[in-house]
């Protein structure tokens, strides 16, 4: 490159247009073409690598389904089963139903992890919010003078507020006192669990009104409501993370907080919001779980945070922040769901299931091709 003359105004505009066309990612400016791109073998290999990088998680999901499907088919061939129960639409609906709670938690977790943090408290916050919902929706106590629409709105409102409050508190502690998110949310993990028990003196709450129960057991058309809510939450979260200024700021704060601040981003506010979102979604998950089981349990959601983290990490979200996709998390949750479901169907004992799950998480992270680029 020779030292350049300054560009004329017209030239600049022209260049700007050229570059905006380049954004599609398909074209390369002639001046910057990478050397040695001619070999077709290279390009095939490169394309395969690119494909694996972008769709590796989808491929892994499909492979897993095929694997479980074959194992089930083997049983059928041996005459042990009369039909392949894995490959049925009912079973896939069941899998979605089973992952909806973990999926919703994992979406919130993805926000937090991309922002460079971690939220260990989601399981406890889920229990707290669920218990709040239950305590306003039970027919056993006199705290429910409401009827009709209110019978539904009040417990939900309290549950969501409880979740948001816990999450915002997490975010405030993390950003205000510069405490490591691991520690701050570990505190909340204990505190929220304690608060759940304190609400009822350690007892479960049962006899919930049918309005609330509908959230866990009802259907919209032929689709169970938890699945509908999971889809809605996913769509909204995807739009927020990919299309809004806030979403971009979440990536920036997680990628390099100092740089984000220098660019005029109020990183503390972003963090509080991110944890509040995680808390809110824990609240949603709490409502669903309470509605599903028909009671508020003090031990609800124990260790759910680990499954949520696992789903995000399997999906390629980097624990060092700044990197991750919600679609990855979705497939991370699906993989875990298929795994649980398939192993259950195949009658694998639960201890071996845990071992296999642990190995799966490690394998997923080790072979993830996008991981190297992210850590470089």
């Amino acid at each position: 490159m020779t030292p350049d003359r300054v560009l004329g105004k017209a030239q600049q505009d022209e260049q700007a247009e050229v570059h905006s066309e380049l954004l599609s990612g398909a074209v390369e400016p002639a001046a910057n073409s990478v050397s040695g791109s001619s070999s077709s073998r290279d390009s095939i290999k490169g394309r395969a690598l690119k494909l694996a990088k972008h769709y590796g998680i989808v491929i892994a999901f499909i492979l897993l389904c095929i694997l479980v499907g074959i194992a089930c088919q083997y049983r059928v061939m041996k005459g042990e089963w009369s039909e392949n129960v894995f490959i049925t639409s009912d079973n896939f609906m069941l899998i979605l139903y089973q992952i909806s709670i973990n999926g919703i938690l994992a979406i919130g977790m993805t926000f937090v992890v991309i922002s460079g943090g971690i939220d260990l408290s989601v399981g406890s916050v889920l229990a707290f919010a669920g218990m709040l919902a239950a305590s306003f929706a039970t027919s056993l106590t006199s705290v429910t003078p409401w009827s009709g629409t209110y019978a539904l709105a009040v417990p939900i409102l309290f549950a969501l507020l409880g979740g948001v409050a816990c999450g915002a508190l997490n975010g405030w502690i993390v950003s205000r006192f510069r405490i490591q998110p691991f520690i701050a949310t570990l505190g909340m993990l204990l505190a929220a669990r304690g608060a759940t028990m304190a609400l009822t003196g350690g007892n479960p709450i049962s006899s919930l009104n049918p309005h609330l129960r509908w959230f866990g057991t009802g259907k919209l058309g032929s689709i169970p409501l938890p699945i509908v809510m999971f889809v809605v939450v996913f769509a909204m979260a995807w739009i927020i993370l990919n299309k809004t200024v806030f979403g971009r700021y979440v990536y920036a704060v997680g990628g390099n907080e100092r740089s984000a601040r220098t660019s005029g981003i109020k990183s503390n506010q972003i963090k509080i919001w991110v944890y509040a979102i995680s808390g809110l979604l824990a609240g949603v998950a709490g409502i669903i779980l309470t509605a599903k089981t028909g009671s508020g349990q003090t031990s609800a959601g124990s260790s759910y945070e680990l499954d949520a983290i696992a789903a995000a990490v399997i999906g390629g979200t980097s624990l060092s922040g700044g990197v991750g996709k919600l679609s990855g998390t979705l497939f991370g949750a699906l993989i875990m769901g298929v795994m649980n479901n398939g192993l259950d169907i195949l009658g694998v004992e639960s201890y071996y299931q845990l071992i296999i799950k642990g190995a799966l998480i490690l394998t997923a992270v080790i072979i993830d091709p996008s991981r190297k680029a992210a850590d470089a």
């Binding site: 490159m1 030292p3 350049d4 300054v6 560009l7 600049q12 505009d13 022209e14 260049q15 700007a16 247009e17 050229v18 570059h19 905006s20 066309e21 380049l22 954004l23 599609s24 990612g25 074209v27 390369e28 400016p29 001046a31 910057n32 990478v34 299309k243 809004t244 200024v245 806030f246 971009r248 700021y249 990536y251 920036a252 990628g255 390099n256 100092r258 740089s259 984000a260 601040r261 220098t262 660019s263 005029g264 981003i265 109020k266 980097s318 700044g322 990197v323 680029a373 992210a374 470089a376």
Partner: protein, 493 residues
């Protein structure tokens, strides 16, 4: 005649075609404190790395007491009696002095650390060096100078080293601590050791060294006894030839004040700084690391609270302590370290460029993507950023192009005043010139620039006026016509 303790002759070293060393030569006698001088990129660190066995030379010879040696790794150099005290402190703060000195080489009995012997050994070593330190004191209770002494003791603990290398040992020290370190050095030299001392502070060379070697562009250009050379001659030897044509300078400073700083103080970093930046002006700031130069830029940009004095932008006073306010007022900042505080490395070129203007191109929080593409494209074109696509991750770009991305992000905000801290650090010569071109054009079209730099040539080549900082005070202001490297350096040290 006895051969010198250390003799390095015509060492050569290329790094992928770039000549880091052409003629690396140096002689060191017993009892000498030898100053190794030269600017950045002169080849000093390469020479030291070769001497320590970290890198292998492409040619040349090294003799210790007349015997040729060739080190394949750092351990061989250590065994030959060469020890280095690194620039950065590497002590473990929660361990004691003795534990730090013998870290990894603790005397042990049945697998347990023998603390009594450890402390006795350390005490003996410290006494022999003349350091008054308690071996059982915890490292984090010591001052930086004492910690530096522990580093020295550690370097000497492996073996009784004859050749000691101090690589900018005072860069982290205050004057008093540096004095204590010098005393220790003065005590060691007469005991028959040879000391090589690297520093950027000219005054220190005259305070402590008795011989010197000047490097420039990978070769020895001058050496001799410190008593035979004046300060001016030494600086001249380090600066060397003419640099005309390297810079771009077309802007003309106007008379309309843009940024006025009055009595700006933030203890303990700087005090009572006043200057006015005019439209069309490039204002250079020179000073050593720790002189408060970066801190002043940080404060103008609102990175820190708790300042006194006033900052006014186009006559409007800034409250301070708010980056948002500074950005709104039209101030943009290219920070010193683009990887640490400039770029989001794991994000794309496009995302990095648009980061600070997203708020201006949104409707109810949603990014207007077409407008974003347009602005990103404009920045890529204006800064001539070389990237396959704007989706490329910024970490895959070259250093120069990364720096252009930082500039591009600032420019998209259409600022009036640009604060630049070491804008050409780690950037190749071609890109440097593009950056100078940009600075000149930016100032020439109604903006103004404040540029902090350690490179004197660059400051003189680009600035209309240069302020010199020393220990947090503005000590000198030179116009473009008066400024010379000698004057600037003399004012700064």
């Amino acid at each position: 005649m006895q051969p010198p303790l250390l003799s390095i002759r015509a060492i050569k070293k290329n790094f992928s075609g770039v000549h880091a060393l052409v003629d690396g030569s140096l002689e060191l006698e017993r009892g000498d404190i030898h100053a190794l001088c030269g600017g950045n990129g002169a080849g000093k660190s390469t020479l030291l790395n070769i001497l320590m066995g970290f890198t292998k030379p492409d040619g040349g010879e090294i003799f210790i007491e007349g015997k040729p040696v060739r080190f394949m790794n750092a351990k061989e150099a250590l065994n030959a009696g060469i020890a280095i005290v690194q620039q950065e402190l590497s002590a473990v703060p929660h361990l004691t002095v003795a534990e730090n000195i013998y870290l990894g080489a603790e005397p042990s009995r049945y697998g347990f650390v023998d603390f009594r012997q450890l402390n006795e050994q350390a005490e003996k070593l410290l006494k022999s060096l003349g350091f008054e330190l308690d071996p059982t004191a915890r490292m984090d209770t010591l001052g930086i100078a004492s910690q530096q002494l522990v580093e020295i003791a550690k370097a000497l603990s492996h073996r009784d080293a004859d050749i000691l290398i101090f690589d900018e040992p005072t860069s982290a020290l205050g004057e008093e601590d540096a004095g204590r370190l010098f005393e220790a050095m003065r005590d060691m030299a007469p005991a028959g050791k040879g000391i090589i001392f690297v520093t950027h502070r000219i005054a220190e060379i005259f305070a402590i060294a008795n011989t010197y070697t000047v490097f420039k562009d990978g070769a020895r250009v001058k050496s001799g006894r410190v008593s035979d050379i004046t300060r001016e001659q030494l600086i001249e030897a380090m600066i060397g030839g003419d640099v005309a044509g390297e810079f771009v300078k077309e802007n003309k400073p106007g008379s309309v004040p843009l940024l006025e700083v009055r009595g700006l103080t933030r203890a303990p970093h700087f005090a009572d700084i006043s200057f006015t930046l005019h439209q069309g002006e490039v204002l250079g700031i020179y000073g050593l690391v720790g002189s408060g130069r970066t801190e002043v830029l940080d404060t103008i940009y609102g990175l820190h609270r708790g300042r006194s004095g006033s900052i006014s932008m186009r006559g409007k006073r800034l409250k301070g302590g708010s980056i948002g306010e500074a950005l709104e007022a039209g101030i943009a900042y290219v920070t010193e370290d683009r990887k640490l505080s400039g770029l989001v490395l794991c994000a794309s070129v496009g995302d990095n460029l648009s980061l600070s203007v997203l708020r201006r191109i949104q409707t109810w929080g949603f990014i207007r993507s077409k407008e974003e593409r347009l602005r990103v494209g404009k920045a890529v074109g204006m800064m001539r950023i070389k990237t396959p696509t704007t989706r490329e991750l910024v970490q895959n770009l070259s250093g120069g192009n990364q720096q252009k991305v930082v500039f591009g992000r600032c420019v998209l905000r259409e600022p009036k005043v640009l604060l630049l801290d070491e804008p050409t650090r780690g950037v190749d010569v071609g890109t440097k010139r593009e950056i100078y071109r940009f600075i000149s054009d930016f100032a020439g079209t109604g903006g103004a620039v404040i540029m902090v730099s350690s490179e004197l040539e660059e400051l003189i080549g680009v600035s209309d006026r240069i302020l010199v900082f020393r220990k947090g005070h503005l000590v000198s202001a030179l116009s473009r016509a008066e400024a010379t490297q000698k004057k600037l350096m003399m004012a700064a040290v």
